[in-house]
Symmetry: D2
Subunit: 377 residues, 4 copies
């Protein structure tokens, strides 16, 4: 693991997600740019002190020298965005698979380079667009794929948060600080942090691509340096249209990603605050409340659940589902049995590149008086 | 009453709304352009046959000749949009107050003319933007007014319906036919039918005005002549931004107008499917579930409820609240005691004009490659 | 109308319910035991002063002397329980149909006498068990009747209120005072006021009868004279079992009557706080959310709705549905075309008698150490 | 681990719960009464084959001979009820701490014996009443403890499931088979399987004890040997009353444990289908929606959450919270620093004994014509 010292948020999430199903064992790490913090984290996690490193470079260099059956198989990168590219590149170039927090990189350029390295090395790179790991998102995708909606016509995806309603970054909040710092986050604030999740979810479930968008991108809180609020009108490659809303100044909201997809024959609704439910709304009959863990779901949904209906699973389980899928791919790769990536069903480097293209286009559009901007990437 | 024959929808709603609190007694009508249908409707309603007229002209002309204590006081106009202006004008010019279904008129021009007539005659004209009649909408307005949100920053308003997902207008559905017919509805389809409600609600609750918008306006169903789907990015006169969504092709949705307002200090959420609840979401404490009929609500909310908490009131009661407010103004006018209109708290001719300006700007913006369009009106 | 002066709650509800659909016109009343209050109420309601009476006796005596086409057709009795029997008896004996607030009477004896008078006179008597008037309750009944649940096995019905959590009756609250006064309410407090609604609803929807019960009946608030809390284990005539909970000391609850019925093949759930929804839960598929006003409902549900799906109807509309059904029966009676009462689908004198038998048995059981008590009546 | 072969449900839950926070490492097991199945399970879990045993006796005997720093610290018992007592006894007598699935034992007698052994050995025994591990249950307990409800007056606890609506046990369903088999489950079916959870939760949150109950216990499905449905009127040691419902024939229900507690000043509501929310309902103000992961919660709630508000945690996390608390106690015990058990806040052997006393009293009451039965134990 690169990053994820004890006071970080997402590093611990990655660790628990990997531990839940015992898919991966955490054996080494460079948990902080401060060697002391890295060491303290390793100790707290009960790691062998010899494998707690002062930097990711040190880690990669040391691990690659270990015998094959001792060295790591994959690197989990959980640092802020500006420290994604270098450790990912180094890991891949030394033969290690990579799982990396979103967005993939600091810029679209970096993302494209990473894709080239992945293509070149043939290694596995997963990006943790967590929400695609939920079983009822798998079911939603299955409903669209199997034609139950007919042609998709309208997509609403929203991601309201309220935690940046005040200038937390000026009050020493670590999570707020790097997320609102353009030297660490890149071009996008809310757009990169949560807008990418929203765009990814919409594309994942519908198997469509956003081709054009018209964005309103705002800095709401005084003296903030990056956007904390955004919305966009969307056009998709099948002619469908949509609306995306991603904001961090919706006072009182938590983390309520919500997706609604409407087709000729039916609508679907999924919301993160009730993740084990998917509402299916046919045109001419009662809405149906599909529930995780039941016997009537698709194979993909079932594969991503651990308990019977009525036993809520949540964010860590969804995250763990990504780790499981990544683990399947890594294992098959090691055994020389890698199948086409789509069969593993995790967000890969292409999703990561699209995410960065989305950020770039949103920011451009937000500054432009032209209505529609094409996404390329 | 003008319009509202037995097979119409909104006419019966107006009648029940007026009857619920016995605010107005229905004494005469021209219920249809077909004298036979008008007559049959009057009979079914138990009216004096002498006061069931073959046309609104006939009605106004006859009524104005009756002694003052027998003739009507106000005219309720519930026809399709293209038959709003003429009967409203005639009524006002003959001294009758008017309550009229939204949108106010067929075009912005007509609306402006009506405003001039109202200004000139000093009579009362109410437009039935029903949703402003709900008690928890009054409470939401009260929360904003009293500063509980601080400055408003973000407004989401959405109005998803699904009933026009198929070409109902080609299958003889009367409601669908005139709503999708530009010669009867005017420029806007969904934009006029439900978008105006959404825009009106956002402005009403926040006491802000939409100054600019960027719209995506679509005809989704093949061969339809007017838009059935729309969305817009919004800018308000205090610098707040917003998103409006109004669609009639959201398969499986009913009539779920929803408003969310976020300020510096808190958010508010109201949804038409649970109209007796208002969620208040302060930044630093638990969300609160405010309920109609309770003792802790504002005077305006209480005035618009009939039963104690836990006794659901709905659409007809909200509609009746408009009639009650209109009735108060009419009574005061008749008694020569009219107060400033804002004290009666019903949507008036200015709201009607703004609605038509909204429609015009949405349609223009939808066709334009320029991003932002100013609303004037 | 007997009772229902301006400061009463339920009288105004009856008036609005009758007015909503213009089923009945209110023409006279004895609104209070105080002639002054009666007069003031009549004036406020715009009645002919000659027909505002000082007592119900005076009213009945005067009205019966009017010509047939002028006199009243039916009497609405909305007084506290101890003033149900006498005016009902007098009305029936003078040829007037009666609609009466629940519970039917002060005691089971009175109720049985009323039934005899009804049987003898052949007149119509309706008891306003409001909740049976909701369209989705009609739908629930239809689901049970049509076998979609298979044999009913388990019934949960609950009616939690919180408004009597404090000794309101000692603070001059009029509603609380008579409801907690055994000389006005009869044997039952919460049991009579809301328990009867719960029992009636369970029996209505399932078409079953409670045969035995085991009750826990409590006075929770100090110095209160009647029960404010109760629960019972139930046995039904088909072998099904159930639980009934009726309490007025559930702090923070409003008026949340809820019914759940489970059969061999499916369950049903309806709750008063979301009355336009009925959840249907088949054993082996997703739950379905049935909604009032949609096209897929039964005839009985549709008959009891006024607006399309998504336009919430509530308590007053449900109440008005009882008035409509009563009106149909009264009209047919007057026209000499009365059909079997069950076809009109309103709670009648037999339901009223059962309600009183329920109260009596609950109170007896609450005081007894024997587990099961049979309901007779 | 004792029990928990690959086709079991709860064994895998225990394993994931222990793995999530890396509190315990699974190092050995006797996963089945079939040595082959045990071996296969151990292999699938990647255990050292030398520590995969053919029986729990073999396991305890072998482990106790290992050097202290190699041998197990605690035994997790996840077998059906009839195989709880023997392995628990043997583990404790050999110095191993025990965590055991509920109910504690096959009978009250066994439970009392286990308590004596625990008292005698001074070792730690935890019973996995999972639902007490939820953060919002901790918060509910905190609200009651800190007096926000005043004296508790009424408690409703319900646990409806539908999965035993059909005779699954006759169709080879393993989960159903042992649960409906009196030789494996003991006296209680639904009463033991889920009723004990409900009773435990009510007592845990309120810190009250059920002193008497009056139960209705039913076998609903033909030819079933144990109860599949039950309900009871409850009396608590402070004078409060309550209702408990535990059924497995509520067709269409999943696993919706729900607790409502009403005091003099407020009510609380928690439901397992939305476990990260606690509704707090004060008498005179709006209900409040308290949410897991927020900054305003008590220490106990916060200690039992892993992610910020809006990141749903669920059943496995609640289960893991029990393991964490048990782990803290075990660690302190090993370090000779054991504090009073209540400080660790997990269900212990006394809770287990009370559970068995509850089952015994429910079954007795169900068969009796006497209304109230005292719980002793």
């Amino acid at each position: 693991m690169v990053g994820g010292s004890l006071d970080a948020f997402i590093g611990e999430v990655h660790r628990k997600a990997a531990a839940l199903d015992s898919a991966f064992e955490l054996v080494c790490g460079a948990f902080s740019s401060s060697p002391e913090k890295s060491k303290a984290t390793g100790e707290a996690l009960g790691l062998n002190p010899n494998r707690v490193y002062g930097s990711y470079k040190e880690m990669i260099e040391a691990e690659v020298k270990l015998p094959e059956n001792e060295r790591i198989q994959a690197v989990s990168i959980v640092t802020p965005n500006h420290v994604h590219f270098d450790p990912a590149k180094l890991s891949l170039e030394n033969g290690f698979h990579v799982i990396i927090d979103k967005p993939l990189a600091f810029s679209l350029d970096e993302a494209i380079q990473l894709k080239e390295i992945v293509d070149h090395t043939g290694l596995i790179l997963a990006v943790t667009h967590t929400y695609t790991g939920y079983p009822m998102i798998k079911e939603a995708k299955h409903f669209v794929d199997s034609g139950k909606l007919g042609d998709v016509r309208k997509i609403y995806v929203e991601y309201p948060q309220g935690w940046l309603s005040t200038p937390l970054e000026q009050e020493g909040n670590k999570q707020a600080s790097w997320r609102t710092d353009p030297t660490k986050s890149g071009e996008g604030g809310a757009v990169g942090d949560i807008g990418t999740h929203a765009a990814n979810l919409a594309e994942y479930v519908t198997a469509l691509k956003i081709t054009e968008l018209s964005a309103d991108v705002n800095i709401t809180v005084k003296d903030r340096l990056l956007d904390d609020d955004s919305a966009a009108l969307l056009r998709f490659n099948n002619g469908a249209t949509g609306v995306l809303m991603a904001t961090q100044i919706a006072a009182g909201e938590e983390n309520d990603l919500k997706l609604r997809v409407y087709g000729e024959k039916a609508g679907l609704e999924w919301t993160h605050s009730d993740p084990n439910t998917l509402m299916y709304k046919p045109l001419d009959g009662p809405s149906q409340r599909l529930r995780a863990g039941t016997g009537y779901l698709s194979e993909a949904a079932t594969l991503n659940t651990r308990t019977p209906a009525g036993h809520p699973e949540g964010y860590l389980e969804a995250f763990a589902n990504l780790y499981l899928a990544f683990h399947r791919a890594v294992t098959d790769h090691i055994n020389g049995e890698l199948k086409p990536l789509s069969e593993y069903d995790f967000p890969d480097v292409e999703d990561g590149v699209r995410g960065m293209a989305f950020v770039k286009t949103m920011i451009e559009s937000g500054k432009s008086d032209k209505k529609w901007h094409k996404i390329t990437g």
